[in-house]
Amino acid sequence: MSDASEVPEVTMPSAQAPGSPPERPRLRWVVAALLAQSLLVGVAVAPALSPRLTGQEYRMRVAPVDPIDPFRGAYVQLEYPGLPAPPRDDDAPPMGTVYVPLAQDRSTGLWKGTDLRDTPPDAAPYLTCESDGWRLKCGIDSWFVPQQRAAELERAMREDHAVAVLKIDSNGHAAITDLIATT
């Protein structure tokens, strides 16, 4: 008699009569799953939807993060010279959500950040960002660009002539809607 430990596995169709076709899932469950997935698409892009639908338009100067090779693949990483960097001292706001009030430079018409706060300012516009102690992430840090426009934008950004067009809603959530080269 062979050892019980050598009994090979027998794979059986689960919960079905032998030879019957596999049980098909009920269509309503499949439709419900597809609807739930559609909702999840909305959830995934929600941070960018709200400012696009309800936000006001503002323009800020923008620079590439990597001036040597600003384009990685199909998007460019952006930084905003007009936004303050998190200060690295004991008085710095704690890591986490921070708020950046914006003020307009009358000579250029562009907007820039004034300071960092850990409570929302009383008046708009302001940006709601996440700070990790090293940099701010405000949801406007990258721009997906078709290859044809890449060279033109790259030249403009190196010469400091690129401007990001943002939409910011009343809660400080921002979305970048365009990146344009100015002369």
């Binding site: 596995e9 596999p22 899932p25 499949v30 997935q37 698409v41 941070p47 960018a48 949801g139 290859q147």
Partner: protein, 439 residues
């Protein structure tokens, strides 16, 4: 049509309508033939009965290669679809691109419900789960959602899992679970600071994954037992990775930063709540089930899995918080190995060994050989790492391998002896009750 094994008439061939034979591997068929000959020789079955039993099974020859090629094909198409999105083709406006990708996704999902071929349906469902990811990434790209957002992967994983459970598709489940694991690892890497926080968070993830596996009791488990195995694999993987990190002697908490950050406390709360909910769900699903061999209801045995994970979490947390001076190891200075450092290092090895042994045993208990394999591979990797990264300045890695190997041999032989005794004891209940009846 083919002639039956008993020689009486014909039966449908494999795959033909009316074919009621179960497919088994060639090895299994050979074992069955052997057993039937023995039973016939011992007079347990007649020749006719043996032929009837044998005719219920058919050995299926190697479609394994075809399955591998098909699987690879599915994986390549899925990756290609997502890559196409990442390429940011400008031939179409962003919204048109989104509509096109969504059409591919819904088309695959609809095809899966219409096609009657089981294999093609499985392929379509797997591709639909992958295409859902492409829809999310395309939507994010069209709306300029910042690159490298873990939430996108999380939404993909959740959606794919919902679809998998609705359709009971193993392929879609694999896509969803992989995306979910990727999201979890990325999220932890982004938010946790230091090894202590990361290890505790990962160990909490192990409890959540195992709790989901435990919740797969009753009808859901019978419909797709592989789902529970997948969750158990994820739980085991997280537990072993968490212990691996906790065992590192190099990580010290960032100065002035307690590991008990709000994120970690939330994770602990979620782990506890998920475990409690899973036990309630499992208990309700198996309330009318036949009691286990040992007389206890199945839910009680499922509770052991979560209890062990809780112990692993506690031990891992204790290890990360126990950080004697590790300067001896950092500076390769064996003369500075303090008794505390020896104690910690030895304890961490024993804890990892015990955890790996538990998961190896669980793999056998739950009929999940992949779980056993993962545990053993993790043990080899851990021992190798400890040899070269930790013990190299002190003793040779070979000595550590010898020590761990000796412990495992002794444990394995002792466990086998206990198993044989238990098997013999279980084989005697009839004799025992007869004795009691006559005494």
């Amino acid at each position: 049509m083919v002639e039956t094994a008993s020689g009486r008439g014909t039966a449908p061939g494999r795959g033909e309508p009316g074919d009621t034979r179960h497919p088994v591997s060639v090895r299994t068929m050979r074992w069955l033939d052997e057993q039937l000959r023995e039973w016939e020789r011992d007079g347990l079955v007649t020749g006719t009965a043996a032929a009837t039993i044998r005719s219920r099974y058919v050995a299926e020859t190697k479609v394994k290669l075809l399955a591998i090629v098909t699987g690879l094909g599915v994986a390549f198409v899925a990756i290609g679809l997502i890559w196409l999105v990442a390429a940011n083709l400008d031939g179409l406006p962003p919204l048109a691109r989104l509509a096109a990708v969504a059409a591919v996704w819904l088309g695959l999902a609809a095809a899966a419900e219409v096609i009657r071929s089981e294999r093609l349906t499985a392929v379509c469902r797997t591709l639909a789960a992958a295409a859902f990811g492409a829809v999310i990434f395309q939507a994010a790209q069209s709306l300029q959602v910042p690159a490298f957002e873990p939430a996108l992967i999380g939404c993909w994983g959740l959606g794919a899992l919902l679809y998998a459970y609705a359709t009971r598709s193993l392929g879609a489940f694999a896509v969803g679970l992989a995306a979910g694991i990727g999201w979890f690892a990325w999220q932890i890497a982004e938010t946790a600071h230091g090894i202590a926080e990361t290890a505790i968070a990962v160990l909490c993830g192990a409890i959540v994954a195992t709790a989901v596996a435990v919740a797969h009791a009753g009808r859901l488990h019978r419909a797709r037992p592989e789902f529970a195995t997948g969750w158990r694999l994820a739980g085991a993987g997280f537990a072993l990775v968490g212990l691996f990190m906790a065992a590192l002697p190099f990580g010290e908490p960032e100065s002035g930063r307690s590991p008990w950050q709000p994120g970690v406390l939330w994770m602990l709360g979620i782990a506890a709540a998920t475990a409690a909910a899973a036990l309630m769900l499992a208990g309700r699903s198996t309330r009318t089930a036949i009691r286990g061999e040992d007389g206890r209801p199945p839910a009680a045995r499922l509770g052991w899995e979560l209890l062990v994970l809780a112990v692993i979490l506690a031990l891992g947390t204790a290890l990360v918080l126990w950080q004697p001076d590790s300067g001896a190891l950092e500076n390769l200075d064996p003369s500075r190995m303090t008794p505390q450092l020896w104690a910690r290092t030895t304890t961490s090895i024993l804890v990892f060994l015990a955890a790996a042994a538990w998961f190896a045993m669980l793999g056998t208990w739950r009929d999940a050989p992949s779980l056993t394999s993962v545990a053993l591979i993790a043990l080899v990797l851990f021992t190798t790492f400890q040899s070269f990264a930790v013990f190299a300045p002190i003793i040779s890695g070979a000595t550590l391998f010898l020590a761990v190997g000796a412990v495992m041999l002794a444990t394995g032989l002792a466990a086998e002896r206990v198993r044989r005794r238990l098997t013999r004891r279980r084989a005697r209940p009839g004799k025992k009750s007869t004795k009691e009846a006559t005494s």
